[in-house]
Amino acid sequence: MSARARLWIFLVGAAGFAVLFAAACIDLPAFGTVPHPYGVRAVRAALSHHTSNVIASVNFDLRAFDTLGEETILFSAVLGTVVLLRQARDEHRKDPEPAVVHPRVRRFALLTLACALLVGLYVIAHGQISPGGGFQGGVVAATALHLLYIAADYRALERVRPLTLYEIGEAAGEAAYVITGLAAVLAGSAFLANVLPFGTLAALSSGGTVPVLNAAVGLEVTSGIVVLLARFLDQAVEIEEPGEDDGGPWDSGDSGGNGDEQRERA
């Protein structure tokens, strides 16, 4: 298909979308005015279970089963990545060379690492009280760990990151969620029902099973993202294909044409 025909098809499609989207937006209630029936009920349910972060109450109490599905999506995605990016039989592993880092970069990265890790853990721990939770905090904490790659080099990162431990942590987080749900069944209620005492509103232990499930997701996401990035880093830094020269020249992308060429080849 010629570029001209493609452009016309795009323009027709875009115009149709714009008309329908605008028509849909006109009928939307104005932002922050009309109370939505579901919103009112969700807030009431969250407060009756002493969970001050209504979003956490929806995720881990009202819709805890949906969150189990979402957690499993991430779990299987990481599992798939681990299988796909494993070291093949004809590939070999080369130890990365130590890198020289400017002291200022090192100081800044280490400072940021400490702050980001603390923020991540704080966001996980306070999921039931303030915005955030296991998923958001988990991603922040896992990403923070990788600042060590900027502060020092890949070997330093590998030293503080025993991968087996994180693989176990990911599975344990997923299992802890299911076990908490089954424990509710054993206690004589439904799967993933909130059976624990609700505690005081806005206290760290408030919300019954919400902080427990939140912590399970936090563990799963932190470990999962670390394992995921570790596989990508392994492929990018360590694993070499047969016949690959060991200089590792890497063009950091100063020529704009490369992307096009690669797309043509793909």
Binding site: Q136, E241, G248, P249, G253, N258
Partner: protein
């Protein structure tokens, strides 16, 4: 006041998204994507959805661009690809 902030954030999102599409180099696309994640996070914050904004900030502006950059690095190291073999070595780490 909030309306103005939302409009600014929407314009930033539209600009960054268009720039990500128009850019042809994956490395630059990753950087633009990171900026797009940041502007989306701003938009969600102005729309009073801090939980979503936090997710967007962590995933959209940190993890996804990082994964793209690592993939680009792996692909460009492959033998037989035009760039890499005939370029001066020793720029990357």
């Amino acid at each position: 006041m909030t309306d103005a902030l939302i409009v600014v954030a929407l314009l930033l999102v539209a600009g960054a998204a268009t720039a990500a599409v128009l850019n042809r180099d994956p490395v630059r696309q990753a950087l633009v994507l990171s900026f797009l994640g940041l502007s989306l996070a701003l938009l969600f914050t102005f729309l009073q959805a801090p939980d979503v904004a936090l997710s967007q900030l962590a995933v959209g502006s940190a993890v996804t661009p990082l994964m793209i950059l690592l993939t680009v690095r792996k692909v460009r190291r492959r033998p037989g690809s035009d760039d890499g073999a005939d370029k001066p070595a020793g720029r990357g780490r």
